[in-house]
Symmetry: C2
């Protein structure tokens, strides 16, 4: 499905149209740029016994782990995010984990589906980044085609069952006036990480080297910029990885679930 990004077709593409292309195995890479304006989400699939604790974990940590969709145990459907959505076929690529080890990266998980699995879709910063760009706030990592810079912090999450660990944050360097505006804009989007959790000195949240992220690409901070830190959807991924569940499935990096929800529908106001 080369060339879909940026084409007039893509600009008008619905979430459903993107999923149908992915479901037909005609797109198996990153979803950035697909179905512009539509919400994309992180995926985590866990067996029912762990799922209850994980849902409680998400509830206790809404900023890093905003659940925007949840399946019935055993059901691969999440009608709230798309009427025909099938979580087993509608992502370009998955990661399958056994006892904490990555064992496969399939493009389809129908053969792995079980009637005790629960699918979680967790909000992603794509939605609020689009709102920032639409307001004219430049985002350096996007301008450079990089991944956002992310760090493990000294901010603890609230534990639930086996799930616990540090909050992971993403950082975007902004001029002060843009930082203030970005706080206003992202406050409208509690379902996709919401307002920042910190700004200014990185050491106050346990980041010792702001030039070397723990995940993603380094990003320069100019002399007139302040680093602004948002809770990040890598937090639940890192927390799940630490538990080393007997079985779990996640999206492959960048290969998100494209939904029928529009980014603007995520706004609280």
């Amino acid at each position: 499905m080369d060339g879909i990004s940026g084409s007039i077709e893509a600009q008008q593409q619905s979430g459903l149209a993107a999923r149908l292309v992915i479901r037909a195995a005609r797109h198996d890479g990153p979803t950035a740029g697909l179905a512009p304006g539509h919400v994309q989400g992180n995926l985590a699939i866990l067996p029912r016994d762990l799922a209850a604790d994980f849902l409680r974990f998400c509830h206790l940590n809404p900023k890093p782990c905003p659940v925007i969709g949840l399946s019935e145990p055993g059901s691969p459907h999440i009608p709230a995010l798309g009427a025909d959505l099938d979580i087993r076929t509608d992502l370009p690529r998955y990661r399958v984990w056994r006892d904490g080890a990555l064992v496969a990266e399939p493009t389809d998980i129908r053969d792995l589906w079980r009637d005790d699995l629960v699918a979680f879709v967790i909000g992603c910063s794509f939605s609020f980044e689009q709102a920032l760009l639409d307001d004219g706030i430049p985002l350096r990592h996007i301008a450079r085609g990089d991944n956002v810079a992310m760090w493990r912090t000294s901010i603890p999450t609230n534990a639930a069952g086996p799930f616990s660990g540090p909050m992971v944050v993403s950082m975007r360097p902004l001029k002060a006036a843009d930082a203030i505006r970005a706080i206003q804009i992202t406050s409208r989007f509690p379902a996709v990480h919401g307002a920042p959790v910190h700004l200014g000195r990185p050491d106050l949240i346990g980041i010792t080297d702001i030039t070397r992220p723990d995940y993603g690409d380094p990003v320069a901070i100019m002399d007139d910029e302040v680093p602004v830190f948002w809770a990040c959807g890598v937090t639940p991924q890192a927390v799940i990885a630490a538990v080393k569940p007997a079985f779990a499935i996640t999206h492959a990096p960048g290969c998100m679930l494209v939904t029928d929800r529009r980014n603007s529908q995520m706004a609280a106001l």
Copy 2:
């Protein structure tokens, strides 16, 4: 009217009740603590010929100069802020200016009133500070009983007629998480200066010595705090002073107009 602040009577006092006490010449000092929960405002009275340009100036600079009430030329009443309000008697103390010089500080201006005068009431930070305190955000200058620290900046205002000059800002040192929350809260109050105009490095807005304010009292910034800067109602006062109008009347410092509007009614959301 000693002891009204902090008493049960004061807690339940209406704006009208406060104005009646002031009108009866039973209170001639600062209004902080009177009619808790009610909006207080800065006063500027100008002859009609200057008033048109000043209103345009306020319109072009809504963050430092939010007009919350405006009289008809020659009328001392502003019903929107209080049904019986009389701007000539209802402030504890006034300042009378002739050709830019302070010539009197009366407690009543009935004998100075003219049929070409226009009264402007401009929103004041008391309203948003109360909202911050109500949310549990500590404000050091209030805890210390000080005036807020203020500086002239390199941020220009938008000129209108003879009115122009630098924006004056107030600064409150806050922990990062409180700064983010304070941006959310004050964004709800565009009529009382709204969101901050800057945070972080003072030199980026032309403040060379953060330990020595141009107005108000110095305030310490702790190691884990960021200075947060709001547009300040001293801006219009400074701009008027620079014009040296033939005749003008303002409130005396701290002796504000107490209105019938509640602080919460100033919230946009």
